[in-house]
C-alpha cells in the first residue's frame, strides 16, 4: 500500500496529460445537466435519494471502483489491508476538509459509522453495515475495522453509499436537532398529564421524568445550535457544494475551492467548472430538446434517442457500456415457469440480438448472466442462451404445452419498456406462448408481486457493483426484492460463501460458479447489458472514452470536465 499524504503518482487513474487530452483545461462556467428526478434527501443515508449523479458531486467515497467495478482505487481512504478475515486496517487521506470546514479524519469516520448503526437516525444503509462490529481509532488518520465475521463485501460497501463521507459535525448537529424535536414532542403530553394528575406520588414521578427530559433537551438544543438539517444542507468533501436548491426544479452546486484532490496532484484549478446546474426535467424528449436548444451542456440519453443525436453536428455523442442488467424474472413459486423446461423454452424463444437491434438501436450487449461482461465477477465462459425457436417449441411440447401457453405478467409503463415488451411478446407468440403483460407504475407492481400474480416480469437492475448485493437481492429467498421467489439451494450456498470470502481471487471464483449455476438452471432470462449514450455540446472538454472504459468511475472522479473557453 502507498504511503500516506502523497497520492500514488503511478496509478493509472491519476494519469493526466497529453496522452489523454491535448487541450489545456480552462476554468469557468456553469455546467448544465439534467436529471429526471429531484435529488430527494441530500443525506445519502436518508430516504429517498433519487439522483446519485448529483450526490457524487458533493460527497466522496472512501474507495472508488475501477473499470471492472472492483473496489480497488483509494480515494478518501488512502490504503487498507486485511489483517485477518475480520479485521481491516485503513489509512485515511490527510488534509481533507468538509464543506463546513471541519476535518475529515478517523474520528469523523467512526462517528459516521456509528451514526448509521444507531437506530434513531433511521439510516436505510444500516443493514449494509450489519457485519460491522466496531470501528477502532488507531490514530488521527487510521482506523481499524472489526467485523463480526468474515466480510467479503466490505470494500465494495465502502465504495458504495455508506462510504460517502459526511461531516461528523453536521451529522451530530442534525441528530441533536432531531432528538430535541422528539423530546419536545414527548414532553407535551407528559406536561399535560402532570397538570391533570391528582395523585401526588404520581405527579412527582412524572415531574422527575419531565425534568430529566428537559435536561436532555437542553443538552441537545445546545448541540443543535445553528444546525441545518443535512437532508437539505449536504456537507461532504466533494468537488462541488450546494449553492441553491429548488425542489423539483433545479439544484445548483458551486465549486469547492478547497477540494483536496486537485491540490494533491498539483492542479489547484480543479474542478474546472464554477458550478453545476442540475435541472429537473422528467420527460426524456424535453431533456433532449433542451440540449438541442443549447439550454443544457450534456445529458445521458435513452438508447432510443440515439438516432436523434448521432448525426447532429453540434453535439459530441459517445456511447459506453453501463453496469445495468435488463432481464425477465420468472415466477418460481407458482405457475408454469416453475418448470425448468418452460423456462428454457422461453429463454430460447427470445432473439436477444434482434431485441438489442430493434429496441436499443443496437446499443447493448447480449447478456449471458447477471454480471456485465466488463465486471470482474462476470463469467467469460458462459455464452448467451441461443435463439432457437424450434428447440423452444420442442421444450414446450415436452413440458406438456404443445397447444400453447398463456402467461401473465407486467412491466414498467415507460415507452421504452413498452417497446421492449412488445418485441418480446411477438417473439414468444412465434413459439406459441401468449404473454400479456400489463404496464404498471412501480407502485402498481407491488401488489401482483406480493400475490405472485404473474408468470414473467420484465425488469431492469441498475448499478451492478458489489456482486454480493445483486446476488443476495435477487436470489436470496429472504430478500424483499426476490420477486420471482427464486430458491436455488446451490446458488444460495454460493452467495453465502461469497459474502464471507475475503480473498479477491477466491471471491471471483465463487461468483463465476454462481453465474454458472444460475445459468444452468435458467433461473431468469438475462437479456442484455445496456449501453448508455452521452450527448454533450462540443464545448464540453475533457472526456476520454477509452480511459473511461478502462477506468470506470475512478476516471470520472479524477478527471473533471471543462468548457473549451471557460464558458458554456
Amino acid at each position: 500500500s502507498s504511503a500516506s499524504g502523497a497520492p500514488a503518482a503511478k496509478q493509472d487513474y491519476m494519469e493526466w496529460g497529453d496522452k489523454y487530452c491535448t487541450d489545456k483545461p480552462v476554468r469557468g462556467g456553469y455546467f448544465r445537466i439534467a436529471s429526471p428526478y429531484y435529488i430527494g434527501a441530500m443525506n445519502p443515508n436518508h430516504f429517498p435519494v433519487m439522483d446519485w449523479v448529483t450526490m457524487s458531486y458533493m460527497y466522496e467515497k472512501l474507495i472508488v471502483l475501477d473499470g471492472n467495478y472492483k473496489p480497488t482505487i483509494p480515494w478518501l481512504a488512502e490504503s487498507w489491508e486485511y489483517i485477518n478475515e475480520t479485521t481491516v486496517i485503513m489509512k485515511l487521506r490527510k488534509n481533507v476538509l468538509f464543506h463546513d470546514g471541519s476535518p475529515f479524519n478517523a474520528k469523523s469516520l467512526k462517528y459516521q459509522m456509528e451514526w448509521i448503526l444507531d437506530d434513531e437516525n433511521a439510516a436505510w444503509t444500516k443493514s449494509w453495515l450489519e457485519p460491522l462490529k466496531e470501528v477502532e481509532l488507531v490514530d488521527e488518520y487510521s482506523v481499524k475495522w472489526h467485523f463480526k465475521r468474515p466480510w467479503g463485501a466490505f470494500l465494495g460497501t465502502m465504495a458504495s453509499v455508506p462510504g460517502f463521507m459526511i461531516s461528523a459535525q453536521a451529522l451530530e448537529k442534525d441528530a441533536a436537532q432531531k432528538k430535541s424535536e422528539r423530546i419536545t414532542h414527548e414532553l407535551i403530553p407528559l406536561r399535560r398529564k402532570a397538570r391533570a394528575e391528582k395523585d401526588n406520588d404520581k405527579v412527582e414521578q412524572l415531574q422527575k421524568k419531565i425534568t430529566n427530559l428537559e435536561e436532555q433537551l437542553k443538552k441537545f438544543q445546545a448541540l443543535a445550535q445553528n444546525a441545518k438539517p443535512l437532508d437539505t444542507n449536504p456537507i461532504g468533501t466533494g468537488p462541488y457544494m450546494l449553492e441553491a436548491a429548488s425542489t423539483d426544479n433545479y439544484i445548483t452546486l458551486k465549486r469547492n475551492p478547497d477540494w483536496w484532490f486537485g491540490k494533491s496532484i498539483g492542479k489547484p484549478e480543479m474542478p474546472y467548472f464554477e458550478g453545476i446546474k442540475v435541472a429537473v426535467i422528467p420527460d426524456p424528449s424535453v431533456r433532449l430538446a433542451n440540449l438541442k436548444a443549447g439550454e443544457l451542456d450534456s445529458i445521458v440519453l435513452n438508447p432510443v434517442q440515439y438516432r436523434q443525436v448521432k448525426d447532429d453536428a453540434s453535439l459530441s455523442v459517445v456511447t459506453f457500456p453501463v453496469n445495468f442488467l435488463v432481464y425477465n424474472i420468472f415466477n418460481h413459486a407458482k405457475g408454469p415457469c416453475a418448470d425448468i423446461k418452460v423456462r428454457m423454452a422461453i429463454s430460447h424463444a427470445i432473439d436477444r440480438e434482434a431485441l438489442v437491434m430493434g429496441t436499443q438501436q443496437g446499443l447493448g450487449r447480449v447478456a449471458s448472466c447477471m454480471y456485465p461482461d466488463d465486471h470482474w465477477a462476470h463469467n467469460p465462459n458462459l455464452k448467451p442462451v441461443e435463439y432457437n425457436p424450434e428447440l423452444s417449441k420442442k421444450l414446450l411440447a415436452e413440458a406438456g404445452y404443445s397447444n400453447g401457453l398463456t402467461l401473465k405478467g407486467f412491466t414498467v409503463n415507460t415507452p421504452e419498456a413498452q417497446a421492449f415488451a412488445k418485441a418480446q411478446m411477438a417473439m414468444l407468440e412465434k413459439v406459441g406462448i401468449t404473454w400479456k403483460p400489463t404496464f404498471l407504475s412501480i407502485t402498481g407492481m407491488i401488489e401482483p408481486f406480493k400475490k405472485l400474480d404473474f408468470d414473467l416480469f420484465c425488469s431492469m437492475y441498475p448499478w451492478i457493483q458489489e456482486p454480493d448485493q445483486i446476488a443476495t437481492l435477487l436470489y436470496d429467498p429472504k430478500s424483499p426484492f426476490n420477486n420471482g421467489r427464486s430458491n436455488n439451494s446451490k446458488a444460495i450456498e454460493l452467495i453465502k460463501t461469497g459474502r464471507e470470502t475475503t480473498k479477491e481471487d477466491d471471491r471471483r471464483k465463487v461468483y463465476l460458479e454462481l453465474e454458472k449455476t444460475l445459468a444452468d438452471h435458467f433461473e431468469d432470462v438475462w437479456l442484455f447489458w445496456p449501453t448508455a449514450v452521452l450527448a454533450s455540446s462540443k464545448k464540453v472538454k475533457g472526456f476520454n472514452l477509452e480511459m473511461y472504459k478502462n477506468l470506470g468511475e475512478s476516471y470520472s472522479f479524477s478527471h473533471p470536465l471543462w468548457f473549451a473557453d471557460g464558458r458554456p
Partner: protein, 276 residues
Amino acid sequence: MKNRTLYLGLIIIAALLVVMAAAPQIAPHDPEAQDLYHVLEGPSEKHLLGTDDVGRDLLSRVITGTRPTLLIGVLSTLFSGIIGVGLGLVAGYKGGAIDMAVMRVTDAFMSLPVLVVTLALVAIFGSGMQSVIIAITLVNWTGFARIVRGEVLHTREFVYVEAARAMGASGLRIIFYHLLPNVMGPIIVTASIAIGGNIMIESAVSFLGLGAQPPLSTWGNELRIGYAYLEVVPLFSIAPGLLITLTVLAFNFIGDGLRDAFDPRISQTFNKSKEK
C-alpha cells in the same frame, strides 16, 4: 350554411367508421408484424408512413387504432351520458331533496380533476381499455348531469309538461317522453364535445403510461410513443395527432350541426328578431 360543416363532420366520421370496419382489409400490412431490424424508418414505398419503434407498419397501426380510439371515445361518452342524463333528469324534475342530494354528489365528483381520478382508477382496475372507459365514465357523467338538470329546470316549466301532468301522465312518462327529447340538443352538444375530450383524456392517460395495452393500440398511445421520436419519424406522432384532432373536430361539427337542427332558435342571426 351551417349544414356544410355538419356534412363535413358526418363524412369524416363515416370515413372513419369505414376504416374501422374494414381495417383488416385495408391495412397494407399486418399491424402486429414486427421487424426489429427496420425500426423507426421514414416513409417508403413499402411503408407509406414509415415504421414504428418495433418495426411495425405505421399506416396499418394507425388504421387498426381507429377502432379502439373511437370505442373509448364513444363508449365512455355513452355510459357517462346514460348515468349523467338519468340523474340530471331525475334531479331536475323531482327537485327538492333529491335534487339537492344528486347535485351535491355531482359537485363532489366534479371537483376532482379528471385526469387524476382517471389515473387513480386506472391504477385500481389496471390499465387497459375497459378501465379507461370505466374511469372516464365515472368522472365525466357529472357534466351531463349538471347540464341536463339545468335544462330540465327550465324545460319542466314549459306548459306542455304541465299539460301532460294534467292529462294524468306519470312522472316517468313525463321524464322520458316530454323532457328528454326536449333537452336532447344540449345533450348532443355536450356529447360531441365529450367524445373528443375523452379521446384526449385517453391520450393523456396513455402519455402517463396507463392507457390502452398492447397489442391494442389507440391513437393516443401511438401519439404518445411517437412523440419521443418527433425528429426521427415525425409522422409517427403527427399522423395520430392529426387524426385525433380531425376526429374531435368532426364530432364537434356534427354536434353543432345537430344542435342547430334540433333548435330553430340558433339559426337566428345578428340583430334578428325571434321567430314567432
